[in-house]
């Protein structure tokens, strides 16, 4: 229940955040690493404030435990905003605490090991370190508030429980700013 409340809270956090000047920000390509899955991400500045992040990754639910051998695939779009920021070391590196919300869709395995189409809202919260070497490293949590559609015995629609159950699993993003 606590995990579910944290996930829901993440969705509404960005509404309270301050604006960031338009045009500020860079474009990053990166990879996503987690026990939840691995994949790629692309980040670009939003026209008014914050950044947009598109992430595609293979969902590994049930694979490490050998419950299933087929990975799921998940695509998400997130609009992230800064909560706080600061500098590191001699001021050449920086960090920012951020949160965001957006939408997700994918063909994913549910906690009962049934595969189906999942779609709904997604939210994230994390910290990001930006280095002068053009690398950025972020550590974050991400949860989904989504439905899961299955076609086994006719079309059935249930809550996508794994989106909430696995929100606590940390994700690591490593991205690079191409000039």
């Amino acid at each position: 229940m606590t995990k579910a409340l944290i996930t829901v809270a993440l969705f509404f956090l960005p509404v309270l955040l301050p604006a960031r000047p338009a045009g500020e920000g860079d474009r990053y390509w990166g990879t996503v690493h987690s026990l939840k899955g691995f994949g790629a991400s692309y980040e670009y500045p939003h026209k008014s404030r914050g950044v947009n992040v598109v992430t595609a990754y293979f969902d590994l639910y049930g694979i490490p435990s050998l419950k299933t051998s087929t990975p799921g695939f998940r695509l998400s779009f997130l609009h992230n905003l800064d909560l706080a920021q600061g500098s590191l070391g001699e001021g050449d590196a920086s960090w920012n605490l951020y949160a965001g919300m957006g939408a997700m869709a994918g063909y994913l395995t549910e906690s009962n090991l049934r595969n189906g189409l999942a779609t709904g809202l997604t939210g994230d919260f994390g910290i990001r370190f930006i280095f002068p070497s053009s690398f950025a490293v972020s550590l974050y949590l991400q949860g989904d508030l989504a439905v899961h559609l299955k076609m086994d015995d006719g079309l059935t629609m249930t809550m996508y429980k794994n989106g909430l159950y696995r929100a606590w699993m940390p994700m690591l993003g490593i991205s690079y700013k191409f000039r």
Partner: protein, 205 residues
């Protein structure tokens, strides 16, 4: 005996020149990888319920996906060499989860904190969560290469690939006729070898 060895190492370290000592730096890191097992050879024998010795071996073509997660601590010696202790969690093949521990020697073609290639040799053992036949120790050895990207000061990102060999003595065997688990008491021999190829990332600081 162990204390004596430790003292000898400390004395050797103290005897290093001041310049060299300044170049010795402690490092820490995390490493994770996707690993594909492409060779798996298992030979075993046991007494059946009829008292007959049953011998069997499995060496069919295989490709199984597993993962590796390691933490490490070590020292850099000069600007090209590093020695580190690695431990973590991995599955060496299907349903064989182990906690490996090993020592790794790495050579960096450029200076340690610069962009460049690295090669490494790694050897050690592992604690098998499901136990081992006659408590024999597992052997895990690997060789690999990778490329280092410096991120910030001593903070670096490595991408790497490695070839891993494992020698194991599993306890969990299935009867070739009934497909039922063989009781551990009637097992007389069990030896399993495997090879896998890993691709992964590491962060060190």
């Amino acid at each position: 005996m162990k204390i004596k060895h430790l003292l000898i190492i400390l004395i050797m370290f103290a005897g290093l020149g001041k310049d060299l000592r300044a170049q010795v730096r402690f490092t820490y890191g995390l490493e994770w990888a996707y690993s594909g097992v492409f060779m798996d050879f298992h030979k075993f024998n046991y007494f059946s319920t009829d008292g007959v010795r049953v011998e069997d071996s499995l060496s069919e073509p295989v490709f199984k996906s597993t993962g590796q997660l390691y933490a490490n601590a070590g020292v850099n010696l000069g600007s090209h060499w590093a020695v580190a202790f690695y431990s973590g969690f991995t599955a060496i093949y299907e349903n064989r989860k182990v906690i490996p521990y090993s020592l790794r020697l790495t050579y960096f073609t450029k200076a340690y904190d610069s962009s460049g290639w690295k090669v490494f040799l790694d050897g050690g053992s592992a604690y098998a969560l499901a136990g081992s036949f006659n408590h024999k120790p597992l052997i895990i050895a690997k060789a690999g290469t990778g490329y280092r990207f410096p991120i910030y000061k001593e903070f670096c990102l490595d991408v790497f690939t490695s070839l891993q060999f494992t020698s194991d003595y599993p306890l969990n065997i299935y009867d070739k006729y009934t497909y039922q688990p063989v009781p551990h008491e009637v097992l007389r021999f069990s030896s399993r070898y495997g090879m896998s190829l890993a691709v992964g990332c590491a962060l060190s600081f």
